[in-house]
């Protein structure tokens, strides 16, 4: 039964529309109050602050578009954009590819599926946490697990997270490792595909690859699209991992200076909160543009069954 039909039935059974509406708002109240007070208020405040010079200690003073003008010549900002885009462009496809591959494997109906699913989902819950970022430092440090393993085969490892050539990739690896959330969504999507399609295909002599390529993939495109949109948005906002792994500096040598980290440094380290607010709005615009492009391109590759 679809959700709509359920709702219709509920409404029919309850009589008075306005009373259900009212109780609906009653139940929504905590969320609405939260949205207005905790989210909407600060959003509007940050928009106003982005046009001011605000050092946190004194009242903000209006400077018009100066903050945005300053961005044009801010080399570290441009650098942080490059770092962040690298992270998104490499991290998101790798993570989704892995998530899809594992989901397809799990979907073949193996024993103990629920256990595997939970275990593989676990990193998603932990991945953004401080504890795992600290664990990552232990694994990728100069005297970490990776290098100890390498030393057994006679290779002198480098400090993966303290060397500017590899630090960003260590964080991308952490991102890829948290493939559980999209994996669960892929699994749900795979379950929706009627098995009759596969039966028909196998009667026609299609192998595994062809079934995947011509049945699974097209029918899964709405789910892939959903994951791509969500993951791009969240990857642009990545903060915790880089903050903990680099000790809050975006180092070594600014190689992990994510956009959000630079924003944080400007706002809280250098007490330039007006500029930081402007940076936050630029990030919003960047994410909006990427998402708009995503939706536009979707017309050409996302296949809706109905």
């Amino acid at each position: 039964m679809s959700v709509d039909a359920e709702l219709r039935q509920l409404r029919a059974g309850r009589g008075g529309r306005s009373s259900t509406d009212r109780s609906a708002y009653g139940f929504l109240a905590p969320w609405i109050i939260g949205l207005v007070v905790i989210t909407a208020g600060p959003i509007i405040a940050s928009l106003v602050l982005s046009f001011t010079d605000y050092n946190l200690l004194q009242d903000p003073s209006w400077i018009g578009l100066d903050n945005f003008r300053q961005m044009l010549s801010d080399e570290r900002l441009h650098h942080s954009l490059r770092v962040t885009v690298t992270y998104v462009v490499l991290g998101v496809p790798l993570q989704l590819g892995l998530a899809l591959a594992i989901a397809v494997l799990l979907n073949r109906g193996m024993r103990g599926l629920a256990l595997y699913r939970s275990v593989l989902y676990l990193p998603s819950l932990l991945g953004g946490s401080v504890a795992v970022a600290i664990l990552w430092r232990q694994i990728f440090g100069t005297e970490g697990m990776i290098n100890r393993a390498l030393s057994y085969v006679g290779i002198d490892g480098i400090g993966w997270i303290s060397d500017p050539r590899t630090a960003l990739y260590s964080i991308i690896a952490l991102h890829v490792w948290t493939f559980g959330a999209p994996m669960v969504i892929f699994l749900a999507g795979l379950r929706q595909i009627p098995t009759t399609y596969y039966e028909a295909a196998s009667v026609d002599g299609a192998g595994r690859w062809h079934s995947f390529r011509h049945i699974t993939l097209p029918l899964l495109t709405p789910i892939i699209f959903f994951n791509v949109v969500l993951q791009i948005i969240s990857a642009f906002q990545a903060f915790t991992q880089a903050f903990i792994i680099s000790g809050g500096t975006g180092g070594p040598s600014d190689s992990t200076l994510f956009y959000t980290l630079y924003l944080y440094e400007k706002g809280f380290g250098q007490l330039d909160m007006g500029y930081a607010a402007a940076l936050a709005w630029l990030l919003l615009v960047i994410i909006a543009v990427f998402t708009a492009i995503n939706f536009y391109v979707a017309k050409f590759w996302v296949f809706y069954d109905n």
Partner: protein, 423 residues
């Protein structure tokens, strides 16, 4: 019906909240809560807690609520609290940011409320700006080189004569230890770039900042220093850049504290924590000089940290009494010993001299030894000075990672600092 029930529940819950808050206020009317924030390593925070217990003992009706964290991100948190008008009453700052907070009206002017008559002239001058007194030095520090005697012995190298050594001798000695010591041991940590450069600069007769709050050095001064640091790396005197990155994240991870490097640059208040972390015999040395005479080393006292009072503090009288207790009472001195630097009050310093042992004793004796060799006191730091050390660190690392030449790094550094000071 359900909505009514919900509304009643909400009302009930919120009124309970209001009621209980009201109850608390009246019940604890006799006790004023004084919020105190500080930064430092664990040992130091424990000692401050001991001092605070003594303060509460002596001041009935005042309860101190201590909010202490490590140095990393301390100022981020503090700025947020000030912006939210939720700053602690007593706030520990350092001299790099005091000017900024004072200039922007965030601090309470102390006037003569805290007695500094037992302070030396230099110590008493700390915490004052053109607009008055906003902070009192919690203790005094000076830059030192800490040496791990066991690594020297293992490498078969004698400890240097720190009253005559030069920068070049420092570099040669460190490279020798790296060469003769065990594998993966190095002669020296990377210098604490900002403070080491300040000494370097003072030895040439310049200061970090002019009296007018401008930069007191040029890009070519910085280039010379970066070339020296690069030389340390090339000769193997200091570890590779990626190891330095790991070492510089916390005092306890430094090469000296982890028994990996023979020498490192620290403020003298760090000796306790470094000795404790390494477990080895840590010796305190004067930093090298350009001329080979430690009298020319440009040494100076800087306050390890300063006690200030937030402009919005509720109980300014208690806050002033607290600061006075921390800097002028023997009880507080005996609790904190040298973990906040050397006590500025000469009576307190004399009182703890008899009591100190181990690294505290070493630190105190060292300060006595160098007090005749001090260079001129440095000018008060301008607003914007807070980012100097992190900026030095960032560009020095660019050099050590071979991403920028010393020349290019120095140029960009000066450009960035100039821009920050203009703001």
């Amino acid at each position: 019906m359900r909505l009514t029930a919900l509304a009643v529940a909400v009302l009930f819950a919120s009124s309970c909240g209001i009621m209980s808050a009201g109850d608390d206020d009246t019940a604890d009317g006799a006790t004023d809560v004084l919020r105190v924030s500080c930064f430092g390593n664990d040992q130091r925070i424990q000692r401050v807690e001991t001092a605070i217990a003594a303060f509460e003992e002596a001041n009935d009706g005042v309860e101190v609520q201590l909010e202490c964290t490590g140095f990393a991100n301390y100022f981020d948190k503090l700025a947020t609290q000030f912006a939210a008008r939720d700053a602690p009453d007593v706030v520990m700052l350092n001299s790099q940011v005091l000017g900024e907070y004072a200039e922007r009206g965030a601090l309470h002017e102390l006037g003569d409320s805290v007695d500094t008559s037992k302070f030396s002239e230099v110590a008493a001058a700390e915490g004052t700006t053109a607009d008055g007194r906003f902070g009192v030095a919690a203790g005094l520090n000076t830059m030192t080189v800490l040496a791990n005697r066991e690594i020297f012995d293992a490498a078969g190298v004698e400890l240097p004569d720190d009253s005559t050594w030069t920068w070049d001798q420092y570099a040669t000695l460190a490279a020798t230890i790296t060469g003769q010591g065990a594998e993966n041991l190095y002669g020296s940590d990377a210098p604490n770039f900002g403070p080491a450069f300040e000494l370097w600069l003072r030895q040439q007769g310049s200061e970090m900042f002019t009296e007018d709050g401008e930069l007191g050095f040029t890009a070519s001064d910085v280039t010379d220093f970066f070339v020296y640091v690069q030389g340390l790396a090339q000769s193997g005197a200091i570890p590779p850049a990626s190891i330095i990155t790991e070492q510089q994240e916390a005092l306890e991870q430094s090469g000296v504290a982890t028994n990996k490097d023979a020498m490192g640059w620290f403020w003298n208040s760090a000796i306790g924590a470094v000795s404790k972390a390494s477990g080895a015999d840590i010796v305190i040395l004067r930093p090298p000089s350009a001329t080979g005479s430690s009298a020319d080393a440009g040494l100076f006292f800087k306050p390890d940290s300063l006690w200030t009072i937030s402009g919005d503090a509720e109980h300014k009288d208690h806050a002033e009494a607290f600061i006075d207790f921390m800097v002028n009472s023997t009880e507080a001195g005996l609790a904190t010993l040298t973990s906040l630097g050397i006590p500025a009050n000469s009576d307190v310093r004399a009182a703890i001299a008899a009591e100190v042992t181990g690294s505290d004793k070493v630190s105190l004796e060292y300060i006595d030894e160098i007090s005749d060799e001090l260079g001129p006191q440095r000018p008060a730091l301008p607003s914007g000075a807070g980012i100097v050390d992190t900026t030095f660190h960032r560009f020095a690392m660019e050099v050590l990672f071979d991403r920028l030449t010393p020349d290019a790094a120095a140029g960009q550094l000066v450009e960035e600092l100039d821009a920050a000071l203009e703001k």
